[in-house]
């Protein structure tokens, strides 16, 4: 039977803090984000957290729910609650600003470090580039293009924990989609940026990122692709 009250423990404070208990009414089709919102609106207005779209598009509401990083707006309480217990913490591997809000600057700076910007040559006066939808490159890019930048993969990656300078699954997935963009002309610089210890070669292929990505993207597969591309470029002397 569904309990009528949820016993929720929420992280309060910054890097140093503690879990504080709240009792939240259990509702049908309740999401974890609903629970956090209830606490802020009805129990403690000083609770800080981040959200925007509530429909799984913006990637701002990810938190650690019962030990696992998840997008909270699309996570039903019924799926994750252990009995009537819910533990909500900020994402791992990121500095905590306050309560459930993390500082995501480094996460996104690493996208830039991995040359995550599209670099084209054409202008609006040129003809459109023809990219066949069934080409191998387009299919590879499609598989990774729906990333919403929520940081769930980054928080789930053990390599990021061991090696804080590792670019992480999201940045490498972005690099992989661009590596398969035939219009992009910064391929060499990008491969240089994602090769080596801070890039794809540190990945242990544990697959936590692919397991937990709410958009079912497989950064592990993209990182394996980058390893192949960088290896080919390295033995041909194109990375020098």
């Amino acid at each position: 039977m569904t309990p009528s009250v949820l016993k929720v423990k929420v992280w309060r404070g910054k890097q140093n803090g503690e879990f504080v208990g709240y009792e939240v009414p259990r509702l049908e089709s309740q999401t974890v984000l609903d629970v956090v919102t209830y606490i802020q609106r009805s129990l403690d207005p000083s609770l800080s957290y981040r959200f925007a779209c509530r429909v799984g598009m913006c990637g701002s509401c990810a938190m650690t729910v019962n030990g696992v990083a998840r997008w909270t707006c699309r996570t039903h309480v019924s799926k994750v609650a252990q009995g009537d217990a819910l533990e909500i913490a900020p994402l791992s591997n990121l500095p905590v600003i306050k309560d459930l809000a993390t500082d995501m600057r480094e996460f996104f700076d690493k996208w830039a470090k991995g040359k995550g910007q599209f670099q084209g040559t054409k202008t609006r006066h040129d003809e459109f580039e023809q990219v066949r939808p069934d080409s191998r490159e387009r299919a590879a890019a499609n598989a990774g293009i729906e990333c919403i930048g929520c940081g769930v993969c980054y928080a789930s990656c053990d390599v990021v924990t061991w090696r804080p300078d590792f670019l992480g699954p999201a940045a490498l997935n972005r690099a992989w989609t661009l590596a398969n963009d035939v219009r992009d002309n910064a391929q060499r610089e990008r491969l240089k940026a994602v090769a080596g210890d801070i890039g794809c070669h540190s990945c242990h292929t544990q697959g936590s990122c692919s397991e937990r990505c709410p958009k079912q993207i497989e950064p592990t597969a993209g990182i394996a692709g980058l390893k192949r591309l960088t290896a080919r470029a390295a033995v041909r002397g194109e990375l020098e």
Binding site: G196, H201, K227, E240
Partner: protein, 117 residues
């Protein structure tokens, strides 16, 4: 070329060689196990093995390739383990790994020599 880029190129090349050697090893191990299973059906003695391998060009070539693939594959992985588990610097890790590779190469080729020639 920066030191960081040079290290990244080394990593990318090392990955390439580990991948190629892994492909060779996968094939070698299958053949190796297959031959063992086939050969021991009626019991096996040292004299029988040597009788089959002695002077055999095929056995000599096959196990030389096997040893070479091991000598390439093992040090690359071992260097990584030295870095990540034992916290060694890259240069120290590679020094130890290359020494291990040399030991595998010498001992392996010596064994091939002993069995085939």
């Amino acid at each position: 070329m920066s030191a960081l880029n040079a290290a990244a190129i080394t990593q990318a090349k090392a990955w390439y060689w580990q991948r190629i050697s892994a492909m060779v090893l996968a094939l070698c191990v299958l053949v190796h196990l297959g031959v063992i299973i086939y050969a021991v059906r009626g019991g096996l003695s040292a004299a029988e093995i040597l009788g089959r391998t002695h002077g055999s060009f095929v056995f000599g070539t096959f196990y030389t390739i096997f040893v070479l693939a091991c000598a390439v594959h093992v040090p690359i992985g071992f260097a990584r383990i030295c870095e990540e588990w034992f916290g060694l610097k890259t240069s120290a890790a590679w020094l130890i790994a290359k020494a291990l590779g040399l030991v595998i190469l010498v001992m392996g080729l010596r064994a091939v020599y002993g069995v085939v020639l």
